[in-house]
Symmetry: D2
Subunit: 286 residues, 4 copies
């Protein structure tokens, strides 16, 4: 399949590489060219602009930082008619709706396909893909999904529904972090070692996600960040926006947002988002 | 070991049976005798009062409904000097401190040993035991812990610390329920099936606890209750009391408490505690 | 003073009329002309477009529904160089910053001047004006402020600071409403008449604002709305956005937002915003 | 009227003095006798024990620190049959119910009569009295209410209802404090002086209570405390307990409780309860 790949950050690099190794004809583009060149040495064609990347492609995958970056990329202006934009960035449901309409207006297709997983999972092709949009287009994109992840779920017929699922999933993760944060603060003030508690929780939940994040927070090893607090805050805002649009109150999302915002205000923007444990600890006088 | 077992409810029956089968010399007591008689037919001695149950015992295990039931049992008055009270009920840290002091004042010992697991786990001897108290006494009680659970964790040198861990663990579970509740409401209003979301979360968290509770809430199968909402509310209160004592603010615990309380006010006391999903749905106009 | 007035809704009509009666040379514009004609019969000139309204004016007052309406009006394109835009709408601090920059880029001036008070206060010239911006421009606008309100406060040298004050003030009001809502629910479930409680609060706070809103909520007289719930929700969003920009967590604003959103989801969009009391009551099983 | 007065703290002293000056035959008791002696010099009889104070009295007014102090006083054991206990302390509704039952069981009467107002108001006889209980007993106690306050409100036929009103009123005050706290933090981070905002709020709410507390928080003049944070926290707990009993969720009360608890954890127990503004400021990175 002739694929354009736009955005070669921590996540995008691994995804693009896997598509390349799966045998697709890949043209890559990144704002700073250096990262693209690395993939160029592995066999990808390197484009100097989004337009060049998309020329003649059948599908264009975008994996960018946020709403602003996706809008600025302006794929609708350069994608061939009939081609499909596979949008993997974590963006707002509102933008997803706008993009779907814009592409449709130009005879192009748009599929929402955000992913779950950290950079290592992107490397190892163990991402979880959540896709939504027109069923035929999703079938068409299967080789791409299979090329980047271990499992694909179909969220619905509207592309933005995939983003609703992705944001809800991040909310599940953030809630786990806040829960650990509060429990650890309580236990530290009760003279109980968070590591002991984590052992019990591992026995109870038996989840690698709990084990991983629970350990980071217990070790207070917040740097370097796996996922920066400022990005977690961005996602928390998107969750609340989606809740607002859907008229579905989410008090717990509000608590999480406030914690991340306090973390930002207290200088933790670049730390791992699990460092909200520090904010909880500070509020407990620790 | 000569053991008295007090409280043969859903949890206690399984625990007592396993102690019996492990070869301990067991005397059981229950407020309503019928449940005790069943164990009597399996080889336990059946006592007509706590005093009779504890006569000559080395350890007395209590597994009762709440603070009130444990206080009403009055074990300190009937336990032989030198014997140890293994307190497995989910009680407040405040009561645990009072009990420890009372027993100490009478030359008896007191160990906190609440457990994680549902009645099936109690039957199958797969409970997780969290013990705390004097190290020598905990060693002495090992055969009991090994007889009722699959793994034992030591939370600290003060018996009430085990209760702090138990309550924190229940808080982790309740938080998961509230998170599912909010996410499901959002997704239902977004036209996404909660079961689809649950599949994604199972792929992400890979936790049997998520799989189980997530399914109950997605199916809205809240009756019969695995764990009644009114009991969850009781535990939420204990968590907040412990937070209060430790001066560790827990905003998320507050959100959970309010949800459970709203569930109670709306007639869901006997439903499963995951039925807070209904409260969240109602607030979203569903 | 030659003044253009744009936006003749419930608030704008009264403000414009008072400026007219104070002897200013007033040209009015409203999207639906009928309201403008009424002022025309009282002596105002009626313009058919914002451009016509602003021709040759020294100051243009805008009093519109929301950010979108203010941006759509596009005053920067029609205001004479050297003239001042007096922005009285309740808009976001972000938009206020953008507008200030846009006007400055065209040699125009921009002053933030939102007001506190209901339509009756606008009629009676008893509004409270909160102004911010360049000190000289504020002095220049004094006759306008004096013409529409009873008192003017200067919030700072940046126009958006007036909006921060306005939004914070609305937050104070909304918080009072939520507090009444929770207290009334508690008291109704305790068999105490909210009117009795209101009498006590009137004796305690001695505030006409408490008396007025407390009575609406006690009477459950939510229609017709003095200030519609959907507008209160809009403002709650602006408060949270401002909190986000300033990195100042506001948990109570989050609670208020959720309540208003639940009210919207439950069909109360057009009711008075004090009808969040209904949401609180419903959560209490009433 | 022959009255016993128990509890001569900041509030009780002023109340007792006014009853004395109103011509009642007053016997006073205080745990530390010195404060009682001062009233003795003004004409009161000084008792060495609650029993001595109550001998032959028609009414006994108690004004003590908390539930524990009221229970420890044990008035039911010393009050003459037919006499009435006027309970003015800020206690839980649960204790009020227990006391009512205990007194009734001994042929005594019990009226709930908590008061609003600070020590100065107690001195100046400008307290607001909220009474509840049997109508005939309330009539009988009128001379006492008139002797200590400027206005009396009847909350209902059950004594504990007066406590529900008192606690709800304290919740209204605490909510105002938290609202100021969040608004001030936001405005400080926006470069706006809280004093300016307070001026606007005074123009808007026109409430002496807002003026007073708003100024304390703007000045950050938290010592000496008018009402200590630790006492505010005690009351917040009682509000939440009452909400729990009534099954009326109060999310805002939860936010307030957490703030006060954080204040306690951060060393502000003895500061004025309006010092939760410091906690909000700290969370905002100030």
């Amino acid at each position: 399949m002739k694929i354009a790949f736009l955005g070669l950050g921590k996540m995008g690099s691994g995804m693009a590489r896997n598509l390349l190794h799966a045998g697709h004809e890949l043209t890559v583009y990144n704002r700073t060219r250096e990262k693209a060149d690395r993939l160029g040495r592995e066999g990808a064609r390197v484009a100097g602009s989004p337009a060049e990347a998309c020329r003649g492609c059948e599908a264009a995958v975008s994996m960018l930082a946020d709403d602003h970056a996706v809008e600025a990329m302006g794929l609708a202006e350069v994608l061939p008619a009939g081609a499909v934009h596979i949008s993997s960035s974590t963006i707002s449901t509102a933008l997803a709706r706008r993009l779907a309409a814009t592409h449709a207006g130009r005879g192009q297709h748009y599929v929402g396909a955000p992913v779950f997983g950290r950079p290592e999972a992107a490397e190892k092709k163990t991402l979880i893909v959540v896709a939504a949009g027109d069923a035929a287009q999703i079938e068409r994109c299967r080789p791409v999904f299979d090329g980047i992840g271990r499992q694909t779920f179909i969220a619905g017929g509207e592309p933005w529904q995939a983003n609703a699922v992705k944001l809800s999933g991040n909310f599940m993760l953030a809630s786990m972090l806040e829960t650990f944060a509060e429990a650890y603060a309580l236990l530290r003030k009760s003279g109980v070692d968070p590591h002991l508690f984590l052992d019990v929780m591992n026995a109870l939940f038996a989840s690698p996600v709990y084990a991983n994040y629970g350990r980071i927070a217990a070790d207070e090893q917040f740097e370097p960040a796996g996922f920066a607090l400022k990005l977690g805050l961005k996602d928390a805002r998107l969750v609340l926006q989606t809740a607002d649009e859907a008229a579905a109150p989410m008090p717990l999302a509000g608590v999480i947002h406030d914690r991340l915002l306090a973390g930002l205000a207290q200088g933790q923007a670049e730390m791992d988002w699990s460092s909200i444990a520090r904010v909880a600890a500070r509020n407990a006088g620790l």
